[in-house]
Symmetry: C2
Subunit: 217 residues, 2 copies
DNA sequence: CTCCACCTTGACCGGCGGGTCGACCGCGAG
DNA sequence: CTCGCGGTCGACCCGCCGGTCAAGGTGGAG
């Protein structure tokens, strides 16, 4: 884990620029290769967990040698972080698109919850990798960061609803936690097969929307 | 962590069933030592995660040499399993005690949920260690086993309520997942400080009971 | 007192796996 | 053609950590 300052020696002064991070120039082909690694890693993480996935496994799955990994990523956790951030952006975009701007707050919350369930079901392979140990501080950070983002998104809506009288006053934070928890619980259970997998995803999403709407009443 | 060893004293008692593996004869002092290891491990697991906790750290925390660990546990995951099972038994006992036998199903579910929240808050250090990677199959197994136990406990109550007409029909499994998810979500958020930690635990428990009751209506 | 079972120690071993390195390839620009 | 850079390879290094082991301690039963 030690970044060993022994970065640039010899003649080629590359790597570790003032900014701190890698700013490698990738060709289009390079970007594709990087994506292959990302995809392979996502699958392996989801399958056997982050810690249990060896870098060499990721490379093997992508059909390249281990050394190449470090051409594209400084460390394993950097790859993970990139994966998670990408996922988060896509999910939030989907949520935003699913909420009708003119509906009231509780309805919008329910719409967002339903869409989240659908999205997570559609990308189960991706979201499974969130079941990860938070030992690595870099991991913990990006995960907490995500939790914070979703929290404030939902909290804003809840507070709005309370102001408009469409959601009961008080305990704004708790209501928010409840909504977030419902979405992740149902999604996790579905993904892990604790829910009858033959159920229609849209039916599940509707159920969750109803659950949230009732609890918010 | 008190008198787990009911009254056994003076003579050695068997700690592990003769299932073929370790069936060491521990003296009372030995059982105490073992408990020290268990406690030290629980704290470290909760603090930095299972995978990131080194056996030698556990021993150092308990003030013994590494070799001794293997006198009491075959492997690290065996220790973990023992920890989780113990916890589960205590929680279920608390739940059972909290539910008034003559109340109707939804009320009992809410009572159990509230008690679970209180229990998990009181033993936050213990429950934090459930945030663990499921890479190790032995770990995954004991965790799933626990999920299954709680699931069937709650499902039984929900089905009972549906039969009695106190809970709406249909989707028994989904309702169960919702209840379980609410309890764990609120408990996790509280433990991780995502909820204002100055809130009274009983108030939180009541809130969760209300949340569940509303969602179950 | 002796013996045996339980307890305790820390040096040691083995391999696993993250990260490094130096060499090499192929292509487009000059 | 030659240079430089993006890209690729895989042997190698090395610290870490789970697990082992041989030896020594201690207290109670006989």
């Amino acid at each position: 884990m030690s970044e060993t300052a022994a970065g640039a020696r010899g003649r080629s002064i590359r790597a570790v620029p003032p900014g701190g991070t890698e700013d490698r120039q990738h060709t289009e082909h390079g970007l594709e290769r990087k994506q292959q690694l990302l995809d392979a890693a996502a699958e392996l993480f989801a399958d056997r967990g982050y810690g249990a996935t060896r870098i060499v496994d990721i490379c093997a799955a992508a059909g390249v040698a281990k050394g190449l990994f470090y051409w594209y990523f400084p460390t394993k956790s950097d790859l993970f972080v990139e994966l998670v951030r990408t996922m988060r952006h896509r999910l939030r975009r989907a949520q935003g698109k699913a909420m009708a701007p003119d509906d009231d707050a509780p309805t919008r919350v329910a719409q967002g919850a339903a869409e989240s369930v659908r999205f997570m079901a559609a990308h189960a392979g991706y979201f499974a990798l969130l079941d990860v140990e938070r030992a690595d501080p870099e991991i913990a950070h990006v995960l907490d960061e995500g939790a914070g983002v979703y929290f404030s998104d939902v909290r804003r809506l809840v507070a709005e609803g309370q102001a408009a009288g469409t959601i009961p006053d008080g305990e704004t934070d708790l209501l928010t936690v409840g909504v977030l928890g419902a979405v992740s619980s149902f999604s996790n259970s579905f993904r892990n097969g604790r829910i009858d997998p033959t159920i229609d995803v849209d039916a599940l999403a509707d159920f969750v929307a109803g659950w949230v709407a009732r609890a918010l009443r």
